[in-house]
Amino acid sequence: MNDVVAALGGIGLGDRLLTGPAALAAFSSDAQTAFQQRAIAVVVAETVGEVQAAVRVCHAAGVPFVARGSGTSLSGGSLPVEGGVLIALNRMNRVLRVDADTRTAVVEPGVINLDVTRAATPHGLYYAPDPSSQSICTIGGNIAFNSGGAHCLLHGMTSNHVLGVRVVLPDGELAELGGPSAETPGPDWTGLFCGSEGLFGIVVEATLRLMPVPEAVRTSLAVYDSLEAAGDAVAQIVRAGLLPVALEIMDALAIEAAEASVKPGYPPGATALLIVELEGERDVVDADAARLDALLTASGAREFLATEDLDERALIWKGRKAAFSAVGWLAPDYIVQDGVVPRTRLGEALVEIGRMSEESGIRVANVFHAGDGNLHPLILFDSAVPGELERAERLGGDILRLCIALGGSITGEHGVGIEKREYLPLMYAPDDLAAMRRLRDGVDPAGLANPGKMLAPEAA
């Protein structure tokens, strides 16, 4: 172990090789703080060469390594592994190029998601994937998890916006996947790399697709007396052939949390809120808005408002985007989940989650991407109360099983990480998992890149 640290010292990182206890403690978890582990050293990389050198040192010594962007993973993805090195990429944070004519940006992996849009804005362009954490999370982390956001209903996930990546493979070799075009000739290697949770190596550069800033954005907020009614409205919107960019629902507890924290000023007494956003060309938004308003009126909304005003829209979204941290006002601890169900079975899923919550005596707040069936149950508990953590975890597991039983997935955008790896075998058959392991072993025969994440260690 000391040999590795000594070898890393030879890379010329200077004070960017961290080994002191305080520094190691600062990197000992991601946003899923239930898991804690210290790395033996943290490499704060500033260049591709340094990443490559650090990976080579690890490979030569047979020491595992974990890449880290901003550490906002909610599934233990960027948790260090025992006896391993952490490679921090947040200093590789330059937008290298924005090309307005090809509508692409080339960025380093540690660039903050929102900074891509900031760099593109002067060209009338923006980067579409918008996780709620977009002001802090990095493109490298987004790629590793194929992160989503409220607007992926229309625009897709991170991988739909990543055209090419330059990667350091787990033995230090560089590979270029994809390119600047919207289309890839031959197998979509880039697509496979996206969402691989750091198990295939480290992204050191990415070419991203940018989109024109829409000229009109119209956000509607509809208030319902029941979750079911809000869910039915979603089904009607989909059936009518409308294509909103976002369809989000919050339940009473989530609304209460939002009001207690960021105070978005949602209509009082709402049992469920539906946020619908239309964007695009002026004429298209106007035509769709007329149909949407008619639908919402007929859907039994107690009241609804629609606005294109930037500040008013921001306020509507503020409550939604702050929902995770807001529930901190309702309970000392929470677990956020990310299961997916077929959109037509959302209602069923919510009723069942409500029942399970009541049964276990653990409160659950629901905010979710209703348009694509991606739930975010926030399981509220107090770890100081004996047994609550265990009950909360059990409830979380039951919710994931429910999602699988309904034909969905254990994660829509937060990744499997360490938190949900035991559930992957419930979703995929042994042969499917064996193929995933073969892929992993083929790319990383020594098993050094983020081991133990996504795929649980095989029983000896």
Binding site: P185, P187, D188, W189, L192, P214, E215, A435, R438, V443
Partner: protein, 367 residues
């Protein structure tokens, strides 16, 4: 000899019991992909592996066996006002969903919402070890496990045999119209395409076809609410300096159908698709013009269709592309599946080795 598989079990059996490489074929509309380049591969006919296995319009997802004709899928979707937004080419000629995914080539309509990779959500396939594996799922959002569905896009039957596919689908635009502009010079056409692609008018397709005198005709299609279409067409025209004609409804339908059926290419030509970005076009274009190869830009200059004359060796195109750092996917003619530069490096080689360790497929063609 051609092997025939009518079920996933048949495919497994074929993979496990055949010596030498296999190459799946279904609609045979893209012979450059379904025939092997240097190896004597045994064709595996999977066209009997067909049929829609699940489709709930309210779900906006669609699952079918891989040999299902695109036309059949499109008809089922159209009954509910939905469509495959990646607009797979050669549908009328008999292309199948599996072939569309394996080619990884989208049609002109993909300009609006994205290509095959943006709409595939689940796969079942038999890999080179004979194991039947599933990746992804039938829900539109799923971050669990490696993204095998995307890997299969463009895999050209050389990483596994697809048996079943799931897609997300979208509502079809309720009305469409197309503007055809008077031809421009190459550079003016490129600049105009770049301007149009940056909005504000959202286009369903943005193609540029060559004219006999070497200039370029921009074809732009818009779709959506019928009430807004006229105003949008006027607005679209205002962003282009050249005069335009608005095509009659049957004319525009025929135009896009013929484009997708590759009817613009001379019979016998090698038709290939070259992903590019605009800055690469002038040099590519000059090379193709010098060889009298028709070049049609599509996806807002993100890809170039080329019809390489039958009498010229495909290798000459491949060498030139390699020199430009470009890669073509060949659909017809011989010399496929890929011409020009190779991508993916060590990563590609390792993934291929993991899925097909014993060389059951003609994967060497990809390297």
């Amino acid at each position: 000899m051609t092997l025939v598989a009518a079920s996933a079990a048949d495919v497994r059996e074929a993979v496990l019991s055949t010596d030498g490489p296999l190459l799946p074929v279904a609609g045979a509309t893209k012979p450059a992909l379904s025939t092997a380049q240097d190896t004597a591969a045994t064709p595996l006919d999977v066209s009997a592996l067909r049929g829609i296995t699940s489709y709930d319009p309210a779900e906006l997802t669609f699952t079918a066996r891989a040999g299902t004709p695109v036309r059949e899928a499109a008809a089922a979707l159209a009954e509910h006002g939905q469509y495959l937004p990646f607009d797979p080419p050669l549908a009328d000629a008999g292309a199948t969903l599996g072939g569309a995914v394996a080619a990884g080539v989208s049609g002109s309509g993909a300009f609006r919402h994205g290509g095959v990779r943006d709409f595939i959500i689940g796969v079942r396939l038999v890999d080179g070890t004979g194991s039947l594996i599933a990746g992804g799922g039938q829900v539109v959002k799923n971050a669990a496990g490696f993204d095998l569905p995307k890997l299969m896009v463009g895999s050209a039957g050389r990483l596994g045999v697809l048996t079943e596919l799931s897609f997300k689908v979208f509502p079809h635009p309720r009305a469409t119209t197309t503007l055809s502009f008077e031809p421009l010079g190459r550079d003016a056409a490129l600049a105009t395409v770049a301007r149009l692609a940056r909005g504000p008018v959202a286009l369903d397709a943005l193609d540029v076809e060559p004219t006999p005198d070497g200039s370029r005709r921009i074809l732009a299609r818009i779709g959506g609410d019928p009430a807004a279409l006229d105003a949008r067409a006027v607005r679209l025209a205002s962003y282009v300096e050249a005069p335009h004609e608005r095509l009659a409804p049957d004319e525009e339908t025929a135009l896009w159908r013929d484009t997708g059926e590759l009817r613009w290419a001379a019979p016998g030509a090698l038709v290939a698709r070259i992903p590019v970005t605009a800055p690469a076009i002038p040099m590519l274009d000059a090379f193709l013009a010098a060889h009298r190869a028709a070049a049609r830009w599509t996806l807002g200059a993100n890809a170039v269709w080329v019809a390489w004359p039958a009498e010229l060796p495909p290798r000459e195109l491949g060498d030139a592309l390699a020199g430009l750092g470009l890669t073509a996917v060949a659909l017809t003619g011989t010399g496929g599946p890929l011409l020009g530069a190779r991508r993916g490096g060590a990563f590609a080689a390792r993934v291929r080795g993991a899925l097909d360790p014993d060389g059951r497929f003609a994967g060497a063609d990809l390297a």
